[in-house]
């Protein structure tokens, strides 16, 4: 009996009037956990009842604690008839199960009813007493932390990154059970909400068990999704990355001294951890195979798969490892072997992370993706979800083999998704093939000459661009050149990835959101015919989406895409493809060539003219975009770069891997064999259309930037104002003679107009950037297209931007952002590995800047004297390693700017801001953001994962303001409930917030509508940087980057 849950019901407020006669309510509360129910007394005739109940105590297994939600129901007592339910509150008590997260949940929760929405609030206090019970066979996994954040959370350090964990559970959907015919919509909705809550609890517990088996203590990049398969059931599945995390000791000194592991400074991470000695654990245990069943389930699933899945699933042996070429050097081979040994133990060397500790990512191969079309069938035995497991295992195998074809042993930025229409389901998985540094994958202390030599050979800012595959044996045709940064290794001409821009990447100018949009009509069909039709369309869709992306990228004058997410949605009579990514200009990659238009009928004079007109327009646009995004790479003479790799050789070795790499992005042969010219052949009206649509994308108004990654490349002076929002649009297509072109235009307009509206709405925040712009497309009905966008607008300081720009024009090269490094905290110990011989590497930027900068406040200058000896050592050391030093100096110049500007600004902002919350004594502000950080603030504590599922239904649609009014109110209510839960945990923000599902169905004729929303995120406590400064007794350097310098100054 390892846990006691205690609940106290304090009071209610703003309750609805339940008794028309008296205009009052006789409210009481039922508190239910598992099968135990307690009741409060009836508080008669009040809309603001004060129950002040005793502590209701539930004695439960920790397994139940993880699975079950606490269910609080507020009712109106009725003497003569049945009591009326006012509404419910579900509280996930999981955050109380980690030793260091929240200790109590206490606060006002909105009382929610699936028919009426929020109806008043209730004040509840929840506590858990856990008894340690280490010896028994554990079915629970209390203590394993979950993070939605797809990078190592800010106040933690990754000791080991173990790898992929996944699980899925299935059940029947209560909405489709026979009993649904006789119960009320409310009862049905509540059954569904409760079931999903239970299932996600169970799923989380099971994933936790796997993590414990791998000797990890946390899951990072946890992504949980629901598949509403209708008749055939309800699938809840989750993926994540198991890690062993160490909490960094104190918020002031964020980083411990670098060359000593300094264990005495750290807290022992998790008390309940059965094996706290994670530091010395050997190579991580391979993932156990308990849930994957590879028994051929095909006989039982009437599956039909796309051409993609027709591939052989067995990975080709020796494909990557055997091909270490001479130019690649022995390190690559060595590294490969080591990484391989570390990764091959894993069934799926996948990582859901999109940002990594420095040095983790060695090379990036390109995007790998796989899709498969399946026919849904009733899940016969929910306890053995073999079919669904097998489906995903298939896809993952395919991804793995694609990665191998790219000479990579791991896939990062990995994600999975589904699109369901009736009985057809498209499963998709995508990620970025990569070569990783094995150091993080095993024991944290592995060192050797290999890495050091490797580090020397991999200059910062371009290493990840170098091709991981063998250039003589390339899996696809690509143009390789010597890296424009280090001139030593080969790089491709374009790079597509699903990850965030690495913090040390060297970019030129700013980035921008690039979208490819596509619709394809499809005949209505049944079952297998339908699946086949979809399967046949998919490769064409992928091809076109990639062509569009490539065209738009070139048009922007950029050469790399980050955060690429391709979504294919299936509807009754069409398929929609939407790809979003952030384009940047990577300094290491060659300058993209322009776009050349080639006509098919060169004889026609007017046609020629038209073509040349178009060509001019395109050239103008490219020039304009280069100016807009400040892309002006340095001129580099050809001889330094070296001649392109001779092509015949390349071609001759190409034949090999055509089949297995059928859907790598980079594999698409878009380059037509010439280095500079990117030829667009206009041979039919379709292509004309494409060119037109290329030119119709309007850039955001001045002062606005947008990206779908965490941060905008080229902007690093965020101010603290953020505005997270969700926008939903549904359009109805006129059903008359729909053509692909008309459809494309409609869809394109829909997306463009939506963006325009966003820019207009947020114009008061200019200069600002829309970050993490996340589009989701669904096709709820025949002629309806629904687009949901969630993003955050962040303001930045324009003056500083100008200054940075100036500095950047002078320097031409610029590191992605130093601020960003600060935001994406990684432990110093990790940094030390990249600069092995120096004791205090990260401090040196600031030392240099401090001593060289006359503009710093007096207090800062005074202390800078103390640093001088260090600085000397630094600079002498710098001379030894020139490449490094250059990077550092570049960094230091930038930091100077930061020192001068950010600290006064930051304080100013703080002052402005602090006034507001003080005045607001009633409801605390809870920030929400899809990013993993809060600009201008430090996250001091993670309180646990927020994962909520709501259903709202109405039978009086018109009265609630139509579909817009209904959904607007519902989304506002969802935000409110998320905020209330965070506030009750003691938090003041949600980071990595994501609206995973927003399923909206309407029936205007019946005046009805229903909507399901699933959101998740990490509840955190943050403190403004300026507040931290005050706390840390005004450590001078803390002004600029407390994270790096705090520890140094004090020790």
């Amino acid at each position: 009996m390892p846990g006691k849950l205690k609940v106290k019901i304090v009071a209610g407020r703003h309750l609805p009037v339940m008794d028309r006669a008296s205009d009052l309510t006789d409210a009481f509360v039922e508190v239910k956990f598992g099968n135990t129910t307690f009741k409060t007394d009836v508080y008669p005739k009040s809309l603001n009842p004060q129950w002040n109940s005793e502590w209701f105590k539930f004695e439960v297994d920790d397994e139940d604690l993880q699975d079950e939600p606490l269910q609080i129901t507020v009712l109106d007592h009725d003497t003569y008839s049945a009591n009326d339910a006012i509404g419910k509150v579900y509280i996930d008590i999981d955050p109380l199960l980690y030793s260091e997260a929240a200790t109590v949940i206490s606060g006002w929760f909105p009382i929610y009813d699936t028919i009426h929405g929020i109806r008043g609030e209730i004040n509840v206090v929840v506590k858990v007493d856990l008894f340690n019970d280490l010896n028994r066979f554990r079915q629970s996994s209390c203590g394993v932390k979950f993070f939605c954040t797809t990078s190592i959370p800010k106040c933690y350090r990754a000791v080991i990154i173990h790898g992929f964990v996944e699980e899925l559970v299935v059940n029947e959907d209560p909405e489709y059970q026979w009993i649904d015919r006789i119960r009320t919509p409310r009862a049905s909705n509540e059954a569904r909400q409760r079931l999903i809550s239970l299932m996600s609890g169970e799923l989380q517990r099971k994933i936790g068990l796997k993590v414990l088996e791998m000797r990890g203590n946390a899951v990072v990049g946890y992504l949980q999704c629901f598949d509403l398969e209708g008749e055939s059931g309800l699938v809840v599945r989750a993926i994540g990355t198991a890690c062993t995390l160490d909490k960094l000791s104190s918020p002031a000194a964020f980083l411990p001294a670098c060359n000593s592991p300094s264990k005495e400074m750290k807290e022992i991470p998790f008390n309940e951890d059965p094996n706290p000695n994670t530091h010395s654990s050997g190579p991580s245990t391979p993932l156990k195979n308990q849930t994957y069943s590879f028994s051929p389930s095909k006989s039982y699933s009437r599956q039909s798969s796309s051409s993609d899945t027709d591939l052989s699933l067995t990975p080709k042996t020796g494909m990557g490892s055997g091909s270490a070429g001479k130019e690649g050097g022995p390190f690559k081979a060595l590294l490969r072997q080591q990484t391989q040994s570390a990764l091959e133990q894993r069934e799926f060397p996948f990582f859901t992370l999109t940002a990594f500790p420095p040095g983790f990512l060695v090379h990036v191969g390109g995007v790998v993706s796989a899709r498969s079309v399946k026919l849904l069938d009733r899940i016969h035995n929910p306890d053995e979800p073999e079919t669904r497991d097998a489906w995903w295992a298939e896809i993952r195998q395919e991804i793995k083999s694609h990665a191998k074809a790219l000479g990579c042993h791991a896939v990062v930025g990995y994600s999975e998704s589904t699109s369901i229409c009736e009985e057809v389901c498209i499963l998709s998985a995508s990620g970025t093939a990569a070569v990783l540094n094995p150091r993080f994958l095993q024991d944290g202390t592995v060192e050797g000459c290999l890495e050091q030599r490797l580090e020397e050979n991999l200059p910062a800012g371009c290493g990840f661009c170098h091709i991981p595959y063998d250039e003589l044996n390339m899996p696809f045709p690509a143009h390789l050149t010597y890296c424009y940064n280090c001139r030593k290794q080969k790089v491709p001409d374009v790079l597509f990835t699903t990850i965030d821009l690495p913090t040390d990447a060297t970019v030129i100018g700013k980035g921008c959101l690039i979208q490819a949009r596509l619709c394809r009509l499809k005949k209505k069909a049944q079952a297998e015919a339908n699946a086949t039709a979809i399967s046949n369309l998919l490769p064409f869709m992928e091809y076109e989406v990639h062509t569009q992306l490539m065209n738009k990228l070139k048009l922007k004058g950029m050469n790399a895409l980050f955060g690429l997410r391709i979504q294919i949605t299936v509807g009754e009579n069409m398929l929609m493809g939407l790809a979003s990514a952030t384009g940047v200009y990577l300094a290491a990659l060659p300058t993209p060539g322009g776009i050349q238009i080639a006509g098919k009928t060169p004889n026609d004079g007017s046609y020629e003219q038209h073509i040349s007109h178009m060509q001019k327009k395109i050239n103008d646009t490219i020039a304009k975009n280069k100016e807009l995004y400040e892309i002006n790479p340095p001129e580099i003479s050809e001889e330094i770069i070296g001649s392109p790799i001779p092509e015949p050789r390349q071609r001759s070795r190409l034949l090999r891997s055509q089949s297995e790499s059928s859907d790598e992005v980079t594999e698409l042969d878009l380059s037509h064999g010439k280095k500079d010219a990117f030829v667009l052949e206009i041979d039919d009206t379709d292509a004309m259309e494409d060119v037109h649509s290329l030119l119709t994308d309007v850039p955001p108004p001045s002062g606005f930037y947008s990206c779908n990654t965490e941060i905008m490349p080229g902007i690093n002076n965020w101010t603290s104002e953020i505005q997270m929002f969700t926008s939903v649009r549904v359009i109805r297509l006129s059903s008359l003679n729909l053509t692909n072109q008309a459809l494309n235009k409609n869809f394109n307009d829909l997306c463009e107009n939506l963006l325009k509206s966003l820019y207009f709405k947020l114009r008061s925040m200019i200069p600002c950037c829309l970050c993490h712009v996340n589009f989701t497309v669904s096709l709820p009905e025949d002629e309806l297209i629904q687009v949901t966008v969630t993003a955050v607008a962040i303001t930045f300081d324009k003056n500083q931007a100008l200054q940075t720009t100036k500095a950047h024009v002078e320097k031409s090269l610029q590191r992605a952002s130093t601020d960003n490094e600060e935001l994406l905290q990684f432990p110093l110990e990790l940094c030390s590995d990249s600069l092995p011989s120096h004791p205090f590497p990260p401090a040196k930027e600031h030392l240099e800047s401090a001593s060289s900068n006359s503009g710093i406040p007096a207090a800062q200058r005074a202390t800078s004297v103390d640093y001088s000896s260090f600085a000397d050592r630094c600079s002498s050391w710098i001379e030894l390693i020139k490449l490094k030093a250059q990077t550092i100096r570049r960094g230091s110049i930038k930091t100077t700017v930061t020192v001068e500007k950010t600290s006064p600004m930051g304080e100013g902002n703080f002052r402005n801001r602090s006034a507001a919350p003080c005045a607001n004594s009633t409801v605390g502000v809870v920030k929400m953001t899809p990013l993993s950080f809060i600009p201008g603030a430090k996250i001091t504590k993670y309180l646990g994962i927020i994962n909520m599922f709501f259903i709202r239904e109405t039978t009086s649609l018109r009265e609630e303001g139509g579909v817009s009014g209904f959904l607007h109110a519902f989304i506002a209510e969802v935000f409110a409930m998320v905020r209330a839960h965070v506030a009750a945990l003691g938090g003041n923000a949600v980071v990595s917030y994501i609206m995973k599902q927003c399923v909206f169905m309407e029936n205007p004729n019946k005046n009805q509508a229903q909507c399901l929303i699933n959101v998740s995120g990490d509840a955190v406590v943050f403190a403004r940087e300026s507040e931290l400064e005050v706390v840390s007794t005004q450590q001078p350097a803390a002004n600029c980057q407390p994270a790096c310098t705090g520890g140094e100054v004090t020790t």
Partner: protein, 364 residues
């Protein structure tokens, strides 16, 4: 392609002040869009009319949803659904309860009932304020009235506490509630030259001096049923005012009063002769107003009487405001020297307020 659904929900609720004003002014979405287009916003931002339409719809929807909360402003502060910075909350409330001068002059002193509400059509036509806006303003008056009607304590404080209005606006509402409660006539043609500010000023003085709350004596028995309220005039005081009759009924007293005033003002008043000639009429007028206040009908006509009996005669003789002030000061002060008059305190309570009101009412 038609837009079925189009929404934008921010974690912090976006409030566009300009659109809020259009909404409060009762414009339809279409009219609001047209007005915004005319403001040149499209040129400034490079947006399209469709964007503007969608934006306006969205804001209107938000305001519509917030309206329920604005009816009880403390709810807006405590609710969890819309995260709005406090300064914005204050702005929303203040603007929602703000009213048009033209409108308030029409309904000031009228019973805030269904009957009056029916007249809003006419008021709307007359003032050019949209019917929707008239309704909102009328409902605001009525709502505030209903809430504070039965409350004890300071009227302004009660309004401020329950509607979180600024001091200025709370005072205005106190005046509106006070006028509505006492049904002072303000609509007569004679009174048309008076602004809402003039009446509000008078209302404040009257609340401070002539109501039960003004007496300032804490009820000895906390359970006593004596209403400590600012809304109703002190009945006892009104009854007592009959005692002032003697000032005009007793000829000697009246003559003595006149001679005292004339002696003091001789040479100081530009309109001395007119004053001397009119003294008895004016004094009769002012005292008779006092003595009649026991009748509800006469209470309602207070302002009509004041204008008829005092403001108009003076104005027809072209008294400058400074002379009116000198006269009224002397007129009230001289009573203290009348030996035969015993109701000095009563006189001061009456005349102190009346003097303030008259000076405010005395303009063109």
């Amino acid at each position: 392609m038609t837009s079925e659904l189009d929404i934008f929900v921010g974690n912090t609720t976006l409030i566009d002040e300009d659109v809020y004003r259009l909404w409060l002014d009762g414009y339809s979405v279409g009219d609001a869009v047209a007005l915004r287009v005319r403001s040149g916003i499209l040129e400034q931002t490079g947006a399209t009319a469709a964007v503007l339409q969608s934006d306006t719809m969205d804001h209107y929807r938000t305001f519509h949803m917030l309206e329920r909360l604005l009816h009880a402003p403390p709810k807006l502060l405590h609710q969890l659904i819309y995260q709005i910075p406090p300064s914005r909350q204050a702005l929303l409330i203040e603007r929602y309860y703000a009213f048009d001068e033209a409108f308030v002059r029409e309904v000031l002193g009228k019973k805030l009932s269904k009957g009056t509400k029916k007249d809003l059509d006419d008021i709307s036509t007359k003032t050019g304020i949209t019917l929707k806006s008239c309704r909102r303003q009328f409902d605001n008056f009525k709502r505030v009235f209903k809430v504070v009607e039965e409350m004890r304590g300071s009227l302004v404080d009660n309004i401020q506490q329950h509607f979180l209005l600024s001091d200025r606006l709370a005072r205005d509402y106190a005046a509106i509630v006070f006028f509505a409660n006492n049904r002072f006539e303000t609509g007569k043609k004679k009174l048309q030259y008076l602004s809402f500010g003039d009446f509000a000023f008078c209302a404040e003085l009257m609340i401070q001096n002539w109501t039960l709350g003004a007496v300032g004596e804490a009820p000895t028995d906390p359970d006593s049923q004596v209403d400590d309220m600012d809304m109703d005039l002190d009945k006892e005081f009104l009854q007592d005012l009959k005692e002032l009759k003697v000032l005009v009924a007793d000829k000697d007293l009246l003559d003595l009063h006149k001679s005292l005033v004339c002696t003091a003002l001789r040479g100081k008043l530009g309109v001395f002769s007119e004053m001397e000639a009119n003294f008895k009429n004016l004094s009769r007028g002012l005292v008779n107003v006092a003595t009649k206040l026991t009748h509800n009908k006469d209470v309602r006509d207070l302002f009509v009487d004041l204008v008829e009996k005092f403001v108009e005669p003076c104005r027809s003789d072209h008294w400058p405001l400074s002379d009116v002030r000198l006269f009224l000061n002397q007129y009230s002060a001289s009573v203290h020297s009348l030996d035969g008059f015993r109701h000095q305190a009563l006189w001061d309570r009456y005349m102190g307020t009346l003097r303030g009101c008259l000076l405010r009412l005395y303009h063109d």
